[in-house]
Symmetry: C2
Subunit: 209 residues, 2 copies
């Protein structure tokens, strides 16, 4: 095989990651063969073993490519929406997550793999704590938003910000899972956005029309 230029090499790596994501989503992580991934990328297994140690290594590389920018984006943008009304920020970030899953195929496919096409076991067990940690960070951001909302007298009486944040996180978690499971879109996908609105509305002191 002819040696590639540096940019060609990086391109091969990216093709491998893209191919891995595609086949993982199609066949499930455990059933996908490195040969299938190589074939999808138009190379041989040799290329995979050059760029990655093994399947888990490739898996986490694929994950990292999406998760890091996304986490940053969600948490960063949440407080910036409307400083006068933090609940709008929470609402916007939830809608943003849905938008990502709808319009960003890479993000959607990656979510799909993590939620439905992967077993949290052995080398992939660490994925669990990783997901948990991401969730905790998001919950912290939510908590700050709800505290802010309470200080601005927007939050409904008798609602604890920390508990409220956790419930919102539980809500988003469930929504993502159901959205992904509802492949034909007849149950959840059509109503997801209005569900978010209802979820947020219930947290306002005054119901706004």
């Amino acid at each position: 095989m002819a040696r590639k230029t540096k940019s060609d090499t990086e391109q091969t790596r990216q093709q491998l990651i893209a191919a891995a994501r595609k086949v993982f989503a199609l066949r499930g992580v455990s059933r996908t063969t490195l040969a299938q991934i190589a074939n999808e990328a138009g190379v041989t297994r040799g290329a995979i073993y050059w760029h990655f140690k093994n399947k888990p290594d490739l898996f986490f590389a694929m994950l990292e490519q999406v998760s890091l920018p996304m986490i940053h984006r969600i948490n960063e943008n949440l407080p910036a929406v409307d400083p006068r009304d933090p609940l709008r920020g929470v609402q916007a970030s939830m809608h943003e997550i849905l938008r990502l899953m709808k319009e960003d195929e890479i993000a959607r496919t990656t979510f799909e793999i993590v939620v439905l096409k992967c077993e949290y076991v052995d080398e992939f067990a660490s994925l669990e704590s990783r997901v948990i940690k991401t969730g905790c960070d998001f919950m912290q951001t939510l908590k700050r938003a709800y505290e802010e909302a309470r200080e601005q007298n927007l939050l409904r009486d008798g609602i604890d910000p920390a508990q409220c944040a956790m419930e919102s996180f539980v809500f988003i978690k469930g929504l993502i899972h159901l959205w992904l499971s509802d492949v034909d879109g007849t149950i959840v996908r059509g109503k997801a956005h209005s569900l978010i609105d209802a979820h947020i509305t219930m947290r306002y002191k005054q119901v706004l029309y």
Copy 2:
């Protein structure tokens, strides 16, 4: 091998199902070997192939053993808690789900497998529609309860029963997933019950103390 009596045969079958559940939860469905299951049950693979067609067949037999009675139980008991206050029924059925996961090891392990140790792909793809269908049935039950609550003037103004039911379902789905992921119990498990209470309280017209 000596032939067993009829009850011995059924016992072998049950041992195989129990062993499968244990190893599935430990190694993940795709990585468990029929030899591992047989070994755990104290028999050989021959016994598995006698009682079941293959691994998916054994998997669904294991599932059926738990899911059918449980679905029946949750949906059946919900309206019967307190006919004067359907929201209490919803609350009780949610607590019941948590109680099952805590105290019933078979139920908990089965949930764990379905949520975290199984890839929804190929022969197991049908599991997805099965889970969806169960969820829709539960949502219907929830919807009836919320409609009943509205008729009794208990439900908060501006809440649509159908949407409220879906949000509760989303909530329970997320709670189950997070509860299972939170293995060391530091994040969700300790607060799950009070989260349910907060979720229900938010739906009442008058906040009850």
